[in-house]
Amino acid sequence: MSKSYRSLGGTLFDIFNYLLLSLIGIAAVLPFLYIVAGSFASDSELTRRAFFIIPQSFSVAAYKYIFSTDTVTHSIWNSLMITVGGTIVNLFFTVTMAYALAKRGLMGRNLVLNLVIFSMLFSGGMIPTYLVVRELQLLDTFWALILPGAISAFNLIIVKNFFQEIPPELEEAARIDGCAEIGLLWRIVLPLSMPVLATFTLFYAVGHWNNFFSALLYINDPEKWPLQVMLRQIVLLSQMAAGSAQSVDYNYVKEAEQSIKMAVIVVGTIPILLVYPFLQKHFAKGVLIGSVKG
């Protein structure tokens, strides 16, 4: 808008708007800053000072403590395995199916597409799915966290739509050059789809890292708990897993309780913050939005 149209009301509105948005922006990130600060502070400081961003008594005791026991380290390791393995499975299942469904002439394509769409509308629910996983003997294995969510119907349709946009001439040319179907997918379609696939890799990976529900449902063995479940044990239920709690001086836990909780929260958040810039780059491009309606 050019300057000459600005009124006093408009200017006041602008000032108010910039202030309000700044406050909202700060409110979105402030909890993290406080948690990071608190995780490096002593508990007495946490009691004494109400709010701070820079701790006076810088201490890494909380981190030392959580990494001194196997509990947290082990659950981080579990989460990493689930995230990497799960994302690979997601991509394999999503890409192969999306590629097949992108072929307009394929017999039975509409039937399968309708099956996919109907599954977005109606689901068997928690218990029948649980029983299927149990019947397949997947309880207490990482597969239970990976297979039941192998494809997100929503993502599948977006990837399928993207594959359909690839000019058929490209595929024809490759076919004439003697490329078979799977070679076509691998050598022509996938390289062309890298930005989309990068987006879904990140979204699937974040989903696995953050997943709590599946682990709550399917994993009873504390040895196999991912970090999210461990986090809940430590912060919400305020107890370290049975085995390790005994080997630790009780007073030490008591003393550092609040800062230990904060340190665990930081550890659970950092991986997300690390991939966030990449995530933002992709969804900001509108890869997802453009496809919501189409």
Partner: protein, 317 residues
């Protein structure tokens, strides 16, 4: 072969069948690629759908699905007669209503405010900040809530004690449960929720604004007559989707904030299904509860879609 013998009387039929076979053979590798995904949907989506039949059984794990006794609508009758049913329905609906009233408008308002910002750098910075919470897990969100609100050394209660001399047990109080849940949702999702509206707003023709300014329209009038109408469709679509979720409060969030002290307002259909089914092993009964919820959800979303179409909006189905 049998196939040729049978199809001999009708050659058209035979030709058709031959083309079918030829097409199947031609796309052989495509079907190989389709297979894993299709199997996934059949095993993990459609077998459970068929599994909702458990709701009409008295399912005994040691008898299995085939030998368990069929009891018709008995599970549903027990559920509707249970006084807990009304508690669950009330809690679920109240939370959904709060969500609709307090959360649903938040991303729209935020997007409108962002849309008024002319400085690209400022806008980008704010966007970067407000999208972050969307990617944080609900366990972390609940953890933050606990760490902030606990009466043992939590920052909020430390401050309250300093200034009022009193502490409030937010986490264990039925009065604070709903405000807590809605605040979490607003904090976590209103930023990310703006994306879809900002995308719709980006498509608005600048000439419309210029014409409006020529006609003497101030900022409010421009917003009211140009900006809002341009995102009306998006709002309607999101409202339709929201309708389908009226009985769906999001299991994880509620479950994480639920405890015996606030159960009377916190227990909703999803957490009840988990408690009855997984914790107590009443598979048939909890499947019936889940099925009730799912069917109402489908009816609501299709109903909302139908209504939207009648009022001249484009639906989604």
């Amino acid at each position: 072969m049998k196939l040729t013998a049978e199809s001999a009387p009708s050659s058209a039929h035979a030709r058709q069948r031959a083309t079918v076979m030829a097409r199947l053979r031609k796309d052989k590798w495509t079907y190989v690629l389709l297979a894993p995904g299709l199997l996934y949907f059949l095993i993990f989506k459609y077998v459970p759908m068929w599994g909702v039949l458990l709701a009409f059984q008295n399912y005994q794990p040691f008898l299995g699905f085939w030998k368990s006794e069929w009891i018709g609508m008995e599970n549903f009758r027990i559920f509707f007669d249970n006084p807990e049913f009304f508690m669950l329905l009330r809690n679920t609906l109240v939370l959904s209503l709060y969500n609709l009233l307090f959360f649903f408008p938040a991303p729209i308002i935020l997007a409108l405010l962002l849309n008024e910002v002319r400085r690209a750098f400022f806008k980008r910075t704010i966007q970067t900040m407000i999208y972050v919470p969307h990617f944080i897990s609900l366990v972390i969100v609940a953890s933050l809530t606990y760490v902030f609100l606990t009466t043992q050394n939590g920052i909020v209660n430390t401050m309250l004690e300093k200034y009022t001399g009193d502490t409030i047990d937010f986490l264990g109080s039925p009065d604070w449960f709903r405000p807590m849940i809605i605040t979490q949702t607003i904090w976590k999702e209103s930023g990310f929720g703006t994306i879809i509206f900002l995308a719709a707003l980006a498509g608005v023709d600048v000439e419309q604004y210029e014409a409006a300014i020529m006609d003497g329209a101030n900022r409010w009038r421009q917003m009211w007559h140009i900006t809002l109408p341009s995102i009306r469709n998006t709002i309607v679509i999101l409202l339709i989707l929201r309708m389908g979720d009226v009985l769906d409060n999001g299991f994880e969030q509620i479950y994480l904030m639920l405890n015996p002290l606030n159960r009377e307002v916190a227990e909703v259909f999803d957490t009840y299904v988990y408690m009855m089914g997984i914790t107590q092993g009443a598979f048939s009964y909890s499947t019936a509860v889940g099925l009730f919820k799912a069917v109402v959800g489908v009816i609501l979303v299709l109903g909302a879609n139908w209504t939207a179409k009648r009022f001249g909006q484009s639906g989604i189905y």
